[in-house]
C-alpha cells in the first residue's frame, strides 16, 4: 500500500536521476544552504509536504493529496541568470511527467506553479509546486 515515507523517498530518487541535479535533500524545516558547497549545486530541496484528504473511501481508506515543493538552488556568476535554470526546471518537470507513479507509490504527480527566481548573484533559487495523490489505507501497519 502507498505511504507518505515511501513517496518522498521515491521522489528524491527520481529527482536525483535528472541530468544536471547534483544533490537532493529533504528538509523538515528550512534548509541551511550555507552548509553546502558550490560543487554540490544545483541542489533540489524537497520541502516537507502538507497533506489533506481528498476523499474518504470505504474500509478506512482515503485518497490523499500531498502538497510540497521542489526548491532548486543554483550558482550562476551573472546578475541575470541564463536559461540554464529553465532547462533544469523543464528536465525535472519532464522526469516527473514520465515517472508520475513514482514506482507505484503514487497515483499521480502534478507540477504546479513555478516561482520567479529569488536570491542574488551568485546564489539563486526557484521553486516548483508539486501535488501528489495516493491511496491511504489506515489499517495498514
Amino acid at each position: 500500500m502507498m505511504n507518505r515515507r515511501d513517496i518522498l523517498e521515491e521522489l528524491a530518487k527520481v529527482v536525483a536521476t535528472v541530468s544536471g541535479v547534483k544533490t537532493t535533500a529533504r528538509s523538515s524545516t528550512a534548509l541551511d544552504i550555507r552548509r553546502w558547497k558550490r560543487s554540490e549545486l544545483p541542489l533540489v530541496e524537497i520541502v516537507e509536504p502538507s497533506e489533506e484528504i481528498e476523499s474518504d473511501l470505504l474500509s478506512r481508506r482515503s485518497i490523499q493529496n500531498l502538497s510540497t515543493s521542489l526548491k532548486i538552488y543554483f550558482v550562476e556568476w551573472s546578475e541575470s541568470p541564463s536559461s540554464a535554470y529553465e532547462a533544469l526546471v523543464k528536465a525535472i518537470r519532464n522526469k516527473l511527467g514520465e515517472e508520475f507513479r513514482l514506482s507505484g507509490c503514487t497515483v499521480a504527480v502534478w507540477v504546479g506553479e513555478v516561482t520567479e527566481i529569488s536570491g542574488s548573484m551568485p546564489l539563486y533559487n526557484v521553486s516548483l509546486a508539486l501535488r501528489l495523490k495516493y491511496y491511504l489505507n489506515q489499517l495498514d501497519n
Binding site: I33, R34, R35, W36, K37, R38, S39, L41, V75, W77, S78, E79, M121, P122, L123
Partner: protein, 144 residues
C-alpha cells in the same frame, strides 16, 4: 550601466588596485599603506595618500563562497602654496581620486562593486596642509 565583475576577488589585490589608482593621479608623489597622517610626512611627500584596510564584514553564502563588504580608507593630503586656496586643492584631489576609482569599479577584476560611501575633510587646523579621507565600500566574493 557597464556589466559588473562577477567572480572571486582577493583583498590584497583590491587594496593594491586602490593604491595604484591613487598613484596614477597627476601630481601625487607618495602612496603608502596602513598609516595615519602625519607620521613622517614632509612637504616632499605632498600630495600623497595612504590606503588603509579598515574593516571586512563577511556573509557566508555557501561553504565555499563568502560575500565580503570591505571598507577601505583612503587618506589624502595636499599643501597649498602661497596664493593658492587650500579648499580648491583638496577639492581637486578628491575629484581626481573619485574619478580614478570610478574608472574601474571592478578594481582590476576583483570587486563586484565599489562605492565611495563617505568623504571627510579636516577643519583647516593644519593649514596650509589639508587632509581628507575617502571611505570606500567594496563588495567582493571569496572562497574562504
Amino acid at each position: 550601466m557597464a556589466n559588473r565583475y562577477c567572480g572571486f576577488g582577493e583583498k590584497k589585490k583590491i587594496v593594491k588596485a586602490v593604491a595604484t589608482a591613487i598613484e596614477g593621479i597627476s601630481g601625487v608623489v607618495f602612496v603608502d599603506y596602513q598609516r595615519a597622517y602625519d607620521t613622517g610626512i614632509g612637504p616632499e611627500k605632498m600630495p600623497g595618500g595612504f590606503v588603509n584596510d579598515i574593516r571586512n564584514d563577511r556573509e557566508q553564502i555557501l561553504v565555499d563562497i563568502v560575500k565580503n563588504t570591505l571598507s577601505i580608507g583612503v587618506v589624502l593630503w595636499t599643501r597649498a602654496a602661497e596664493g593658492e586656496i587650500l579648499w580648491d586643492k583638496i577639492d581637486t584631489l578628491v575629484n581626481a581620486a573619485t574619478a580614478a576609482i570610478r574608472a574601474d569599479p571592478s578594481l582590476g577584476s576583483q570587486t563586484y562593486d565599489v562605492e565611495i560611501s563617505r568623504v571627510e575633510s579636516d577643519n583647516g587646523s593644519r593649514h596650509p596642509v589639508g587632509v581628507t579621507v575617502l571611505i570606500l565600500t567594496a563588495v567582493y566574493y571569496s572562497e574562504v
